[in-house]
Symmetry: C2
Subunit: 347 residues, 2 copies
DNA sequence: GTTAGCACTCGTCATGGTAGAGTGCTAATA
DNA sequence: TATTAGCACTCTACCATGACGAGTGCTAAC
């Protein structure tokens, strides 16, 4: 917040950051004495106490109970994260190299990439890694294939310019022959190849709205097929690192765990979340109550998008406790997104 | 175990079952008094106590500590489950109908069926539902399609007689044209259509072992492609109901939860498990230490397979605490497997 | 073979007392 | 005027204690 920058003088800012760093390292409320010991502000614990009382009044810290140390509030963390943005990324070089190596090992197949990436994210951060495959809005049809089997089943396979493959089984009129289907496929391919899938859907909807009778039976079948395959599905969300996060002292409460699991299990929710987020550019940080999802207001979320050329083709992110190592985690998410973007452009 | 049937007389069996039923209903050790109150064996608590001491000696019950009631051991549950097998399924009629309705709502698409089913299983049982799509061993190639994009990328799409679609992206020689690929696809389709995928893999391996030079470049490409797409992947495992299970008093221990999550997160493990299991017929019950997976020896597992004609095309199961409502859960798994088998044969 | 009765064991819960960490306030200091 | 030393106060965590209740095992009587 700029407001925080206005209210706080340099010294108070430094002490606030010190408190937060302390608390990120050790999951207990931090008292005035530890600050004087660990940092050399040249101030006594009494002075630190006064300042911490001020910071509490301003809403950056709070006391779990009287005569305990202080813990940061969401706005405290927010201030801290904002100061991080300003300064150059300080993440450990060795760690950086390790991350790069891990990323390099990811196969260059965009279809397995999300799963691998979410694993990698959780391993690197010790929090929960999530990835989402591209939204239809930004993927481009390369080819559609239709293959009939059984008497009235149709396998529809969609391949995009980005190398993404989607498939679906739909039911069709038993009368439709494979020859008809080939004609339909040819029609769609010639008409829509190179078009964004989202635009195809819109176009199809428009055609549907017009007088249906104007089209012959085949086209109406084609429209039906397209309509069903071009709908979004939450199958493309990958989440990992659940078991690891339970080791953190922040997750000692079983109800909190349940809440988290419930949110994460509902992939529709995560789709909505990442969808919402991929509208913006760059790496974003949501701290506790800032979280767009009500179910996640006790956790923090760091997300970014990766791109193919100018189009964002997917989102990645990390979910963790609000008491999170923001510096490290932000750089992991940021670097991963950039790395994947580069990787995709190299192909 | 038949050994139990030999050792135990009718009365002892009944009391053992009574203790187990009590404990399934309320998650506390059961004492001799509650047995006399809830059941009318016409025996005093003292007699029940003596019998319970006998049952403990025989390994069917155990005391968490002196002067606590008894809880069943794994062999206790095993005995109980065996008695269930004998008698006619007593599950609540209303529940049965509800289950049927839920199952009916599942779409008849074998590609979305596993996910939907696992959800349904967990909702019906309040435990964890898992499903696995068919193993290659038992699925039959209907058609393979090859589609080139970018300069050296190939989308391989596999459609089986069962209606299952699999896809993969592989890297190929940039020199291979779409025309060549069509020829390869034609070759595979003519040569292997109607063959079990597992057999195709074996055949391919054999051809590879022979002098490679005997085949022209195209065939060797084809072999390479087949080899890569016909490998198993753990993407076909669906798990749900995690958050629900945390409400159970059996999961009050955070370490136990972590153990469970770790097992479940590693889908390779689950693949191995269900693979192992689908070798046998019918509904199988694994109680605690009976579990084939070391990581799951604190939980119980009930599994079954569903079939397409004579071939099992997938496995379903439920994971829960050893203190599980076996009667209900077994019937849920059993019925679901049968229902899906019927559904598939109707198509 | 069954049962009543009794002594015994153990976990749970409420109580109280102590130690330690950390605060807020006040008065003294630079 | 800002800082600090000192002190009283508060609250938690921890431990020991004791009462209570649930449940057992054993014995003697039926």
């Amino acid at each position: 917040m700029t407001s925080a920058n206005e209210i706080l003088d340099e010294r108070n800012k430094q002490i606030l950051c010190a408190v937060i760093q302390c608390h990120i390292n050790t999951p207990v409320p931090v008292g005035s004495r530890v600050i004087t010991k660990k940092y050399s502000f040249g101030l006594s614990s009494a002075t630190i106490r006064n300042i911490m009382a001020d910071l509490e009044e301003m809403g950056f810290l709070r006391q779990p109970h009287t005569s305990a140390g202080r813990v940061p509030t969401d706005s405290g963390y927010r201030f801290y994260v904002n100061t991080l943005k300003g300064k150059k990324n300080q993440t450990n070089k060795a760690q950086l190299i390790e991350l790069h190596e891990k990323l390099d090992r990811l196969k260059k197949d965009i279809n397995t990439l999300p799963d691998e990436t979410s694993r990698m994210l959780s391993a690197a951060s010790n929090y929960i890694g999530i990835t989402m495959s591209p939204h239809d809005r930004i993927i481009t049809l390369s080819k559609i294939e239709l293959h009939k089997f059984r008497k009235n089943r149709l396998a529809v396979v969609l391949i995009t310019d980005e190398g993404i493959i989607k498939h679906k089984v739909v039911t069709i009129d038993a009368g439709t022959s494979q020859k008809d289907l080939n004609r339909i496929a040819d029609y769609i391919n010639s008409e829509y190849s190179g078009t964004h899938v989202e635009d195809i859907r819109k176009s199809i909807a428009k055609e549907l709205a017009k007088d249906k009778m104007r089209y012959d039976k085949l086209i109406s079948q084609a429209v039906k097929i397209c309509k069903s395959i071009f709908s979004t599905s939450p199958d493309d969300v990958f989440i990992s690192g659940l078991s690891g996060v339970l080791g953190l002292p922040d997750f000692c409460d079983i109800d909190k765990i349940r809440e988290l699991l419930k949110t994460i299990e509902d992939k529709e929710l995560i789709v909505r979340l990442l969808d919402l987020i991929s509208a913006s550019e760059g790496t974003q940080v949501f701290i506790g109550s800032e979280n767009p999802l009500a179910e996640m207001k006790k956790f923090s979320l760091i997300v970014s998008t990766f791109k193919e050329g100018a189009n964002p083709v997917g989102a990645i992110g990390i979910i963790g406790p609000t008491r999170m190592n923001y510096e490290k985690t932000i750089s992991i998410v940021d670097m991963t997104a950039q790395f994947i973007t580069n990787m995709l452009s190299e192909r």
